[in-house]
Amino acid sequence: MIEPLLFVLLLALAVAILKLKDLFAIAMLSGAFSLVSAGLFTLMDAVDVAFTEAAVGAGFTTVLFLGTLAVTANTERQQPFRLGPLLVVLVVGAVLIWAGLDAPLYGDPTAPVHTHLGAEFIGRAPSEIDMPNIVTAVLASYRGYDTMGETAVIFTAGVGVMLLLGGRKGRDLDEEDQD
C-alpha cells in the first residue's frame, strides 16, 4: 500500500505551496506536485492519465508559470490571517466528506461505476475496434464526439491567448516601436 504514502507527500507539497511566498519556488513545487500525482495515477492503473500529467503538469505548466513570473513580481505580498476563508473551507470539506461516506469503497469491483459502460467497453472493444489499448479505443472511437469537443476547446483557448497577448502581429509592432 504505497498509495497513502504518496498521498501524504502530495498533501505536504500542497501545504508548502499554500504557505510559501516565493512564487518562483511555488512554480517549481507545482511541477514536483504534478510528478508525484503522475506516480499515483500509475498506481491507480491510469497509465495514460499519468503520462499526460507528467508531460503537461511537470513540463509545460511550469514553463507557463515561469513565463508569467517574468512579467509579474515573483514574490507574494505578506497577508494578514483571515478567519473567513478557513471557516468556508472547513465547512465545505466536512460536508463533502460526510456526503461521500456511503459511496463505494476504494477498489470495490461491484461499484456501480464498473458495472455499466466501463464493462461494456472492455467487453466490446476486442471485436469491434481490435486495439490493445482500450483507452485509445474509447477516446477516439466510442467517445469521438467528446474528444472532438475537447480539441475544439483547446483550439479556442489557443485563439484566446493569441487575442489577449497580441499574437505574432502585435508583437512585431511592439518591437518596431522599441526600435
Partner: protein
C-alpha cells in the same frame, strides 16, 4: 471512524481539494490563485481516477498471449474515467494558459497582480 478509513481515497482527495480552494480564496495574488485552481483540478482528476480503480485489476490495455490473441479474462480497471480525465488535463492546461494571459494583461494595465490593490484602483477611479 472505520467508515472514514475505508474511504481514505475520498478523504485525501477532499483535503487536497480544500487546500486548493483555500489557496484560491485566501490569497490576493492572482498567480497564486491560478496555482490554487491547478491544485483543485488535480484533486478532482484524482477523485475520478480513484473511482475507476478495481482491486486486483490492471491497466486497461489487453495483454497479448503467445498465439497473438488478446487476454480478456483478467480484471481491468475502468477505462472510462481515464479517457475523460486525460482530455480534461490537456484542456485544463489550455485554460490555465488563458487565465495566465489575463493575469499578464492585468499586470500591464495596473502594474500589480494583487487583487486588493487592483480593486482599490478601480474604486478610486469610480469616485473621481
Amino acid at each position: 471512524m472505520s467508515e472514514v478509513l475505508g474511504h481514505w481515497n475520498q478523504v485525501a482527495v477532499i483535503v487536497l481539494m480544500m487546500i486548493g480552494l483555500y489557496t484560491v480564496i485566501s490569497s490576493d495574488n492572482l498567480v497564486k490563485k491560478v496555482i490554487g485552481l491547478n491544485l483543485f483540478q488535480v484533486a478532482v482528476i484524482m477523485f475520478y481516477v480513484s473511482m475507476g480503480k478495481v482491486a486486483g485489476g490492471t491497466a486497461p490495455i489487453f495483454p497479448v498471449d503467445e498465439a497473438g490473441n488478446y487476454v480478456t479474462d483478467i480484471a481491468f480497471s475502468n477505462p472510462l474515467p481515464h479517457v475523460l480525465m486525460l482530455t480534461a488535463i490537456v484542456v485544463g492546461v489550455a485554460t490555465t494558459a488563458l487565465g495566465l494571459s489575463l493575469v499578464i494583461r492585468i499586470q500591464e494595465a495596473y502594474g500589480t497582480v494583487e487583487e486588493d490593490e487592483i480593486l482599490d484602483m478601480d474604486h478610486r477611479e469610480a469616485h473621481v
